[in-house]
Structures are given as C-alpha cells and as structure tokens.
Symmetry: C2
Subunit: 527 residues, 2 copies
Amino acid sequence: MKLSQLNTSTGTRLNGASVVLVTARDAGVDVCFANPGTTEMPFVGALDFVPGVRPILGLFEGVCTGAADGYGRMTGKPAMTLLHLGPGHANGIANLHNARRARTPILNIVGDHARDHLKYDAPLTSDIESLARPVSIWYRSVAHQAELSRDTADAIAAAVGPQRGVATLVLPVDLQSATVRESVCPAAVRPAPVSFDAARVAEVADLLRRGVSAVLLMGGRALSARGQRAAARIAAATGATCFSETFPARTERGGGLPDIDRLPYFPEPARAVLADKTVVLAGALPPVTYFGYEGIPGELARPEDIVTLAEPGDAADEALDMLADHIGATADVSGVDVEDWPVEDGLLTPQAVGRLLVNALPDQAVVSVEGGTCGYPFVTASARARRHTILTNTGGAIGQGLPVALGAAVACPDRRVFALQSDGSAQYTIQALWTMARERLPIVMLIASNRRYGILQTELARSGLPADTPHASRLTLLDDPPIDWMALSRGYGVPGERATTVRELSLALADALAHTEGPRLIEMCLS
Amino acid sequence: MKLSQLNTSTGTRLNGASVVLVTARDAGVDVCFANPGTTEMPFVGALDFVPGVRPILGLFEGVCTGAADGYGRMTGKPAMTLLHLGPGHANGIANLHNARRARTPILNIVGDHARDHLKYDAPLTSDIESLARPVSIWYRSVAHQAELSRDTADAIAAAVGPQRGVATLVLPVDLQSATVRESVCPAAVRPAPVSFDAARVAEVADLLRRGVSAVLLMGGRALSARGQRAAARIAAATGATCFSETFPARTERGGGLPDIDRLPYFPEPARAVLADKTVVLAGALPPVTYFGYEGIPGELARPEDIVTLAEPGDAADEALDMLADHIGATADVSGVDVEDWPVEDGLLTPQAVGRLLVNALPDQAVVSVEGGTCGYPFVTASARARRHTILTNTGGAIGQGLPVALGAAVACPDRRVFALQSDGSAQYTIQALWTMARERLPIVMLIASNRRYGILQTELARSGLPADTPHASRLTLLDDPPIDWMALSRGYGVPGERATTVRELSLALADALAHTEGPRLIEMCLS
C-alpha cells in the first residue's frame, strides 16, 4: 500500500507519524510497545489510521524496551517502541542496555517537543541525545518533514545491519502532525546479509589438526541448534571442550541437542576451564570477568591464547559447520536424550525447581531466565528437556526477565513462554504483569522467592565483608516486609499460586500449563 | 570524629568508601537512599563502619532518587543516593530530572567498575557520564584515592551551591575498597549564601510606583510564608495580581496565608491572566507553555513585558519583603481563614476529594501532589486548610509523587505526609510502597483511580484527534484489567481501604490519620 492509497481510501489527513508508521510497517515492523505522552499523540492517532502495527501499552517504559528486546531475539526483526521525551526514554535505558549487549534490533522511537519549542527549555526538555547514545548504535532526531521516511528507513537498516542493535529515532511532535504530500513514498529496508570469514575457518582447522587443546566459546548464532551440533562434532573429533558464553542472548537447548555448559560466572571456575587451552571464539567476545576483583586478572584467557573463528555478528553456526567438515568430523554426534528428572518430594530447593521446570516444559517452550538462584540449576538440568529456547540477561541490568518473556510471547503466540525469575530483580519492571494480563498472554512466571539479594550476600563474602552487620543485612534482605506475591499478582490481574514443596510446584505447573487464556504466576517459596 | 579515631576505635580497616561517608556525614548528609549492586559492596560495608548515615533500601532506583528529591526539598540539604553503575543510575534519571528542575541538592553516588576493569567493556560497562550529565549540575568520577574526600566535598559544595541541584559522584569499586592512610581528613563543606539584587528591587519598585499593571510570578523562596505575605502586601498596595509558577518545588499554603493561585497549565487561560501585564519574576523562570502547540506562541509573555525581581536561586522572599517596604506597603494583609469546606455525601468527584483532604489535613502536613485529576481541585481548595507544605512535579517526569512523599516523611518525622496521586503516574515507581512499609513511615496515600491517562485523552482532543478509536482508546485507558489497588497495596505490606463515596473517604481519612505505625493507601474510585 502506498501512502497515497491510504490517503485516498480513508479521506483522513495524512501526517508525518503515518509516514513513519508506513515505512516501518513495510519494512516488517508489526508491533509497537508503547508508553506515550502528550508529544506522541499524533503518533497514537496514526496507529488507528495505518493498519498493520499492533500497539501494546506498558505502564512503565522499561517494560516496553525489555519487551522489544524479547520480541527481537525471537523474531530477528525489530519491534518499535514509543517513548515520551528524555525522561520516558530514560526509564527504558536499562533494558536497552541489555538489548545492546544482546545485539537485538529495536526501532526505539522517542517523541520530542516541537522543534521551535526546544529553545524555551520547558520542564520536560532534556538532552535526549546524551541519554540515548550510550545504548544506541544509531541515533537521529528528524530535522525535516521530507526526511521522515528516509530517517525511519535508515534507523531500521541500522538496527538490522551488521552491527545489529538499538536505533533511536527522535520524532518532534510538530513533524508527527505535519501534513504530508501524497508523493512521499516509503523507503525500502533490507537487512544486511550475515556471513563469516572462510579464511578464519581454515586457520582454526589447521590449529585443531595440529592437536591444540581447544575450548570452543560460543555465542550468537553458534548457539543455534545447527551451531551446537557442529560444535559437538568438532569436540568429538578433536577432544575440544565447548562452552556457551555465560549470558547468551538466545540458546536452543534440549530435544536431543548436546549439553553445552555455560562458562562459569565467577572468575576462579571460569579460569579453571580455560587454563592452558586455546580459546576459539565462535560468535562470542573474548572472555573477561563480570566484575573486576582485586588480584584477579580481568582477562579470563591471555590474548595470545585466543583465536577468532567468527565474530558475534557473524554466521557462527555456518562457520562451525564448515570447520567440522574441514577437520573431517563428518558424523553427527548424538546429543542428550529427553528424559524426566526424578525429583523427590520435600521442601523446594533451587535444584528441585530447575528439574521440575525441565520436566514440565512442552516442546518449543521459551524460557526467560533472570537471577542466579534458580537460573543456574535450571540451565544445568535443561539439556534433558524437550526442545526449548533460553533467553538470558545479557547486560546485567536487572528487571529484564519479565519484559523479555512478554515480548517473546507476543512474538511467538504458538509457543509456551516461561519466566524463571528471582524475586529481587522482578521488582524493577513488575508492571510487566499488567500488560501480560491485558494482552491475555499465557506466560507462566516462576518467582524464586528467597526474600534477599542473594548475589549481593555472596559478593559481600567475596569482599571479606560480613553480611550480618545491621546495615549490610538490611540492604541485602527483602524480608521486612515480605512481598506478598499472591496479592501483588492479583493486583495486576494475574492469577497466582504459591508452592513450598516439590509436590505443590508440580501441581501448580500442571495447573498453569492447562491455562491458556492469560498469564499465571507461581511464587516458589525457597527456605 | 576524625577518620583516625574511627580507625582506632573499631580496629577495622579504613577504606575509601569510609572516607566518602565521613566527608558527607560531616557536611550534614545523614541519609542514603540506596539500591546497591556488586560494585557498591565496600560502600555497603562502610555504612556499618561509619555511624551517622541512615541507609534506606529501595527496590527500584527511581524510588531512591525521588526520595532524595523529597528529602532535599524539605530539609534544604542533600540526601545521598547509592546506585549501581550506568543502568542503575539510568533507572533513577527520571526523578533526577525532576530534582534538577526543582533545584534540589542531591549527592548522587554511582558505583562503577574497578578502574582497570573498564577497558574490558564487561557486560555492565556503559558511558555513565553521558547518562548523568543531562541531570547533573556537577559530575566527576573519582580518579585517585587521595581525591576521595576532596571530590566528595566538591560534589556537596556544588549541590548546595548557588546553582543547587544534583551532583553526581562516580566511585570506582577499587577506590571504595582501597586502604586509606590515617592522615586523610574530611574536607569542610559550606553552602553558598543565598541573596538577592537590591538594585532590581529598586527598579521594580519604580515600575510599580509608576502604576504599571503587574503580575507577580512566584517560584522558589518566593513561595515561603514570608514571600507570600510580602506578595500579598504588594498586591493590596498596587493592584498587582500574584501567581505561583504552575509546578513549584515547594509551596507553603493555608493556615492564614493568602490564596495565591497557580499559573494555569494550558496556554489559553495562562495567556489570559498575563495579557497586557508586566510580569515580575520573583524566583520564577519566564513563563512558557508546557508543550508547543501549533499556532500558539511558546512564550506566555513577551520578553519586553518581563522584569526580573529575583532569580530562581535567589532569596526571593527577602526581595519581596524589601519591595513591599520600598513601595510603602507596610501593613500586613490578612490571608484566608482556616475553615472546613462543606462537602455533601455522594459519589466521589475530584472537587469533593480536594475539599475532603483540605478538611482532613493536620497542621504542618506535607502533601506530595502528582496528577491533575485531583491535584488541581485540591490546590484550589487548600488555602482554607491548616498550614501545610505542597510539593509538586517540577519536571513532568511522572512517577515522582510517591517517592517524594517517602523522602519528605524521612525528612520530617514530626509532620504527617500525604501523597495525592493519580493512578497512572503512581505505577512508574510503585515499589515506593514497600520502602514506606519497611521504614514504618505513616504516609497516607490517596490514589485517584479513574483508570485512564486523563491528560492524554485531553491532549488527543486538543490535537483534534478522537480518543475513542480502538488504538487511541486502548493506549489511554487503564481499565483492562483494572488495577486492584487493595491487592497491590497489600502485596507491598501496606494496609489499604477503598472509597467510592464522600462518606467512605471521610471515614478512610480519619482511619488513616489515627494510624501512626506505617503507611496507608486509600483507593478513591472516581466514576
């Protein structure tokens, strides 16, 4: 549909916001996670005028940006956000930070004051560019009406291009509402092709043939089913070990795939598995410690011990396949059989939670994992699950798990989505529950309720500090008052159940899975 | 207490975080609104080591920064925040934006990676400076151990200095945990004196004597009791009219003060009250429209019609007093008598809500107002209340009202604090409820529950757009699902009541006021 057709068919005035919407829609953008304000009203009006883009309201901007991240990871194409000026964008930054680390394409639309209003420094005026650059691979504020379509196309091209990531497009409200001539036409948008460097494959093949002791460190497309199978073939043929990066944007898992562990989080065990090895990067970055610790090198492997097979943006799975062929590892290697874990009844432990969830996952489930308490035990156990996709917190800005689950559920209506979520991090974007209920998304949320910031108590201990002194304990414990998850969940229109034993969690999971009309929340009370 | 004494008395290792804390404490900083992460653990440990700073945990950073704003507005001195790296700071930006507009002093402490870890671009690394500059009047990342105390003192001096505002101090974790020599001593901090320009007073006095028709537009200290009384004297003597800026950081009100109205929000009525007048700025900025509207000038008064009596940071109340004396307006002018509003029973309307709250306010109450639905009717009615302080949303970044109430309650344990809060904006920092419950703060929250973004429906109409088309209505209505405020409140440990009639709200207010052990929430169901 051309803009001129739109105009003719409805008789409504065509405005600048419609130009942006038509351009984006014709490039494949079909959802808009929105928390608009006054400066986005022409855009809101245009959503009713331009068919084909589904607006989804969030009560907080971090819900919108996290949902766009989840959507983009599952579809490979950008969702649109709609945020209100600098402060609205600012509320979305934390999850845009995670999206940046995940290399997720997002068309981040931020409304702004009318161009001739900025000079007055009205209350909501701020330096949007300074706030947006740190999380954006591309930034532009539209300067002229005639550039609305081209700028939108440029933004999408940047988002899906070789660098993949967040493209921030600022739309002054006067341009959103500007009347547009019929001759303006949407620009075409084509994602950059994804490839790899065959010369590097040959180099790594030479190394492996010479018998170096290698670790394949996998990220990006290396963690597709194809990439993992290829890595397992290479490992079987050469004795190499395989690790996923610690917090991958997306991993396929279970359903007969090999069991590829994650590189440990803490530096000591991570260094142990990489020691005296040649580290072959397949879509992963050179491994560094998550935080700097006194007396521990930041680099987990020496630069001279690292070779790059494929960059994070490359077709690392194809590179691994070619590498497997080069070294003559022709046979497919069998993975892990799908099999239920035996779980004895008793009080809930993180290990029991992980195994029960593994047993419950239907084929093609998606699991958004945030928080270490149950996250690590689940991933350890999940190689035996039916085929599923795991999404993790790539950038460490917490409050990502629930919105990402929301976006994944919008992206994949035919797949069951789970959020395995720690209680502390859930609070940062708790408003996600409301949008899940509003959109009737059958997401199953499992809240690991241990009423503490467990990681901080661990880190206090690592720093040689006591966790039981009055202030330190009060800054890491969430037990006063305990959050009443059943009430909170009901507050947002989400039915909840509480489980304290293995049997109760089994029943609650079965109950939640039988329910397909909307979200369910299960509070898992850990002792 | 010197650092050396601290060191001796406990035998604990003195670290860089302690130096920052002692410097801040000795400058009068006695509370820290904190949401720490791994890179702030030495600081958390030091809070137990350095007595005199009360840490208060927030479940979300916007709660911490908004609370620091409320605290600073009530005390005039900075609270400290403690935020985790760029993403943690980012979650606090919206309320720092409001604090910037309120000119509230805040010592915004942001932890960072160890200095030698930044080069690895680990997952949580980001450009903190780019994120912090737009909301900070001062920014520094501590570069050397020897500069910890001086940099802290500089930050506080900037926060309380002539520009007043947010000073962001970034503390790399390695400097927080660095061992410090005993000879390091805290720096002294002295707030800049506040004054005004007597020559300007003489100029304005001349103008008024010549009989110009003036509007006094008041902000900052002009809205103290002294400033308002002086303005009323000037008005009585000259026929000038008085207006408060539309969203003042802090206004004293009631208890016999004159009834000074706020400059209207929308441009048409604002222009009407300023038309053909000389606008005398007393601590207010030149008036501009909140948003730019097509065909309406952004400036509400022509520059040639504006004279400045006192700048926003000046002692505008003293300037007004001198002006009143200069023009011979010696007699004190009587204000509005304290008197209950008559309110008939019936379904709740915004007007009834405003009047009931006015009747219920005890002397010296503090009211944090966010949202127009009930906010305007309350302020209109509140001249007849007992003496109280009103805090409004200065920067338009919503999600400010509950955290500001929280900070005000921490600042003023002897005053009753109310939050008159719209339902939509409450959601952005809803986690404030938990901290209120945790700290047993007897805040009374009144949620105006109309289940919509009322302002956006108004703005759609102003743009000539229908609000009842499918997407526009769905992006401005919050009724599917309706938020269950009783459940949500209980979820965070706050007892709640629901009121749908005048009588129910009266009873709920009386009930809440009798309760002094912690917060109460009243959902006011507006039809």
